[in-house]
Subunit: 224 residues, 2 copies
């Protein structure tokens, strides 16, 4: 059984809560647990057993796809307050593809057991509706990421990424490797390194070990 604080979060995150029978509520509460993931932990992959539904309390998870030769493309990220049903896609008949999930920061989450959630989603059309809507919202994010990857030029994608990350960090300094940028914008590390060198030569950024400093924001914005 989960503590009162987590119980309140479950009731808040699962917006179909009021539509459940008492036995269904108990089933979900009795099959929920707090989980802590560490930065860079792999949380879920296509080869593993179905995980369950995740409610993110703190930290950040990254959802990505992986090619046969190990190339990663980031689809979206999960932040505190987000719910993830794609980690339970094995119980959702309409979802036939597999994503990978890894922790980008130390992350606390509530994990609802797959069998319990599956039973409730099967019995209760509102729980099923919640799952489908949650997955659809991700579909929209994925389409956005895909359009960026397919249609934006590498300069534009990279400039957009740098400006976005510095906004998030609340400063001009971004701690990130070329490898990570490549994964995030769906490109190759060599291409990212080459383009960053161009940006550096044009006086738009400076590079250090594992960090990038934006020194001409207006210059980067011209690429958007």
């Amino acid at each position: 059984m989960i503590n009162i604080e987590n119980q309140k979060l479950i009731e808040k995150y699962l917006t179909f809560w009021e539509k459940l029978e008492a036995t269904q509520k108990n089933l979900l509460l009795n099959n929920s647990a707090e989980k802590v993931f560490h930065k860079d932990d792999s949380i879920y992959s296509a080869d593993e057993e179905c995980l369950g539904v995740l409610l993110i309390k703190t930290g950040m998870l990254r959802v990505f796809i992986l090619s046969e030769d190990g190339r990663e493309v980031t689809l979206y990220r999960l932040y505190p307050g987000d719910t993830c049903v794609l980690s339970a896609s094995c119980i959702l008949n309409s979802i036939n593809f597999e994503v990978h999930i890894a922790a980008e920061l130390d992350t606390e989450a509530i994990l609802i057991n797959i069998a319990a959630f599956g039973k409730v989603a099967n019995e209760n059309v509102y729980a099923e509706n919640f799952s489908l809507r949650n997955a659809m919202e991700r579909f929209s994010e994925v389409m956005f990421a895909i359009e960026e990857i397919l249609f934006s030029s590498i300069e534009k994608r990279l400039a957009n990424y740098l400006l976005d990350q510095s906004d998030r960090a609340g400063g001009d300094k971004i701690k990130v490797t070329h490898e990570q940028i490549a994964k995030d914008i769906g490109s190759a590390r060599e291409v990212v390194s080459r383009m960053l060198k161009v940006f550096q030569e044009e006086g738009l950024i400076e590079q250090g070990r594992g960090k990038i400093v934006i020194i001409n924001e207006k210059g980067l914005e011209k690429f958007l």
Copy 2:
């Protein structure tokens, strides 16, 4: 009002039919119409008004995304028996991206008016779930297409495409332009033309005006 044959099709395609009130059934039937699209007609685009829900009777539609500079990437096709709710995405709050739809063959469809379908989906959770599940199934197809585009080599994608199309056509001859192949496999026309020339030089295919003939199927299969 729609004829009896089409009414039966609506009842069959809309799997939530039995969960509707009589007034909801009448609303849908009174707001459905048979539509004929001609080959190459643009049926739906992001700029146009929301279309409605399509039930495909005969023919074939192609669903794609379009970049600012006019490049198309095919996401999936709709065949007889398929239902399309993405053409009604304006009423589905969870869907926030836009697709384009064009007729690839002369196509007969039943079109359910957007306002009527939206009202029923709003009132009836089973109708909403049908829409979400229908869209989710497309999500899986889109992910498959995207993984192909991002991860497969151009040779593999092209060989796979040619074998797939000849299977569909039931023979070795495929009627298609380089332009169309490029759209379908998410590449550029120049790249497709170059690679087809390589296939031709290797004795795998022969090319004519608007057609490609496979002359060594086993050779193409080696690329898969």
